[in-house]
């Protein structure tokens, strides 16, 4: 039980999601979605690009072949013997074929006519070959063939071979043309395709990114809403969310409510217990004080110990019940004014002047009752011991002094104050439970414990106006 409350409240939730480091798996949901979509788009677009370029190349080859076929046909037409010369007239040698490049030496455009029967011996060849052979695979028994080869100028050529029957003889007409123009054409097309696809891909990823951002916006809203509840700015989470998230919000709200209820109930129980025990204790100790004799003395003494113990344990039980409450906060200024008003009523005979300065709108992250308990004890002490003045200061602490938002509540008096030793003793936290002497009787150890539960602290030193200065550091919103 001791350790249960002796630990300060440090369970600050992690602030926001840190951006995932380079090369690491993205931690965020939107990161995952964007990465998956990007990988898929790049793959799909790359495959589409390959297919497109392949199709274009095949179509270009077919068109090129068709063009070569035209030359094959015109060669054939020029070879047909003159019908006037009779049945057995020899084939003629083709001349112009309608393409000047066949006449230019090593122009890249070539043709040959070979005799199919005679081991494919060259019968005619274009002038551009300049007597060199055209290095092609024999056609063999095939009717025709398209292939790539190397021309005499060491250039790549497209080769079209066609078996032709002319009269009684069979010829193989071979036309070859350099592929440089055709290749450049395909390359240009491929470049354009890549450029287009890259643009489309970038657009897709951007669209996915937008979609994820817009699609996940309700999640951000849920987080903001939960944060507001935690800071006590809202009572419950906004349940106006998409159908997928609404049940989550409803459940969270139920959790928040049941949490509050449990705390409220345990507090009520503790209060009831207090009342139930304290009245009989008053009776016993008063009875013992009116009677005389050792028995009465013993009863009185023990009753005194009992009431100290009850006080102590009730205080601890109340504290243990507090820390699970989330989303509670209260404004500081009204509470202090209320306390100040009460103090001036209680101590109206003491002629003590209460003055103070506090910023508007400052909120304590915690239960109102606890702030009242903390400030009440300090003010009560100050009013009790002050000669004539009590000064209360409240200020927001700068961020540089802490990672969380904190504020300081300082209460000074011009009374006798405490020695250094007494000050150390007074704020000792987690006082042993079986201790019957309640410290200095100032209730400061309770204050220190309570402040500790909120992750704050109590500091005592000398006030500028002479007496004790008690400084409470507490979390604000």
């Amino acid at each position: 039980m001791v350790t249960a409350w002796a630990h300060p409240l440090t369970s600050e939730p992690v602030q926001g999601g840190k951006p995932a480091g380079a090369g690491r798996k993205p931690r965020s949901l939107s990161g995952r979605l964007v990465v998956v979509a990007a990988v898929w788009s790049v793959l799909a677009l790359a495959v589409a690009g390959f297919i497109l370029v392949g199709l274009y190349q095949a179509a270009s080859e077919r068109a090129f072949d068709a063009q070569l076929d035209v030359y094959v046909k015109s060669i054939l037409a020029e070879m047909v013997p003159d019908p006037a010369a009779g049945e057995s007239a020899p084939v003629r040698e083709p001349k112009g074929v309608g393409e000047p490049r066949f006449s230019l030496p090593l122009s890249g455009w070539y043709w040959t006519v070979a005799e199919a029967a005679n081991g494919e011996k060259i019968r005619f060849a274009s002038l551009s070959l300049v007597g060199d052979p055209l290095d092609v695979e024999p056609l063999g028994s095939a009717e025709n063939r398209s292939s790539f080869g190397t021309g005499p100028g060491n250039e790549e050529v497209r080769v079209r071979q066609q078996r032709i029957g002319l009269g009684s003889a069979e010829f193989i007409i071979t036309v070859a043309a350099e592929t440089a123009g055709f290749r450049a054409d395909v390359r240009d097309f491929a470049n354009q395709v890549v450029l287009t696809l890259v643009v489309i891909g970038a657009g897709l990823v951007g669209a996915v990114f937008l979609q994820v951002r817009v699609g996940l916006r309700p999640l951000v809203r849920l987080r903001t809403s939960l944060g507001e509840v935690r800071r006590g700015e809202a009572d419950e989470i906004d349940e106006n969310l998409p159908v997928e998230l609404a049940p989550l919000a409803v459940e969270l709200n139920a959790l928040i409510h049941s949490n509050r209820e449990i705390v409220e109930r345990s507090r009520t129980h503790v209060g009831n217990l207090a009342h139930g025990l304290k009245t009989p204790l008053s009776v016993i100790s008063n009875e013992a004080r009116t009677a005389a004799g050792p028995f009465a003395d013993k009863v009185g003494e023990q009753a005194e110990i009992m009431s100290t113990q009850i006080q102590h344990h009730l205080e601890r039980a109340r504290m243990a019940a507090q820390r699970r409450v989330i989303g509670v906060s209260c404004e500081v200024e009204p509470i202090l004014s209320r306390l100040t008003r009460a103090m001036s009523k209680i101590y109206r005979e003491r002629d003590v002047e209460l003055e103070g300065a506090m910023p508007d709108g400052l909120r304590f992250r915690g239960e109102q009752q606890d702030l009242e308990e903390l400030a009440g004890n300090l003010l009560d002490n100050a009013c009790k011991w002050a000669n004539s003045r009590v000064v209360v200061h409240v200020r927001q602490l700068q961020h540089g002094e802490a990672t969380r938002e904190l504020f300081e509540l300082a209460v000074e008096d011009d009374g006798p104050g405490l020695s250094q030793e007494e000050r150390r003793e007074a704020v000792k936290r987690g006082r042993r439970l079986d201790e019957t002497v309640p410290g200095t009787g100032l209730g400061l150890s309770i204050v220190a414990d309570l402040a500790g539960l909120y992750g704050g602290r109590l500091e005592l030193d000398r006030a500028e106006i002479g007496g004790l200065r008690a400084r409470l550091i507490l979390p604000s919103v």
Binding site: K278, L281, S282, V283, N286, T290, L339, I346, E372, G376
Partner: protein
Amino acid sequence: MRLLVVEDDADLNRQLVTALGEAGYAVDTAFDGEEGHFLGDTEPYDAVVLDLGLPKLDGLSVLETWRRDGRAMPVLILTARDRWSDKVAGIDAGADDYVAKPFHMEEVLARVRALVRRAAGHASNEITCGLVRLDLRAGRVTHDGNPVKLTSHEYRLLSYLLHHQGKVISRTELTEHLYEQDFDRDSNTVEVFVGRLRKKIGADMIETIRGLGYRLGAPVDE
């Protein structure tokens, strides 16, 4: 001085009544909120000791109703709920002081004494008038330095007159503040007590204002 004690615990109630009676007050009691509220609303008490945890009607509501209806007598609340939030709530509801349970009877006596004295506008625990001096803490009266022996009724009468010295107090008012509620009142007895008091502290201290009542004051030398 007449007080009301509202406390539901029979033993504690008895202890309070006994202790306050011994201190020289006429004490009425109530055991629940409704009865307490009725008495406080209808009888002129000089102070009320009010427990907050009462059956039927809780103490805070009783107090708030009194204040709303303009009942201004000083009220001391007894509460087991001793957090500052409870204390402040009590003060805000109109209480003048609080005592947390468990308490010592001396504490309650001291607070009640202070409340009654303060309500009458006296700052110190000693009230004097001429040669008569009343020590509230000890409940002792001296005349010219010599102790005066008084019965409890004589003490209440003198105490009330001293608290309100210089003012004319009617016989009815005196009766109302001298006796408990169920006491068999006879206004003649007030005259008897006044007569006895005059013998003990000097005949010229208490002046009879015909048809109005009595006035306590230091005799003016003529």
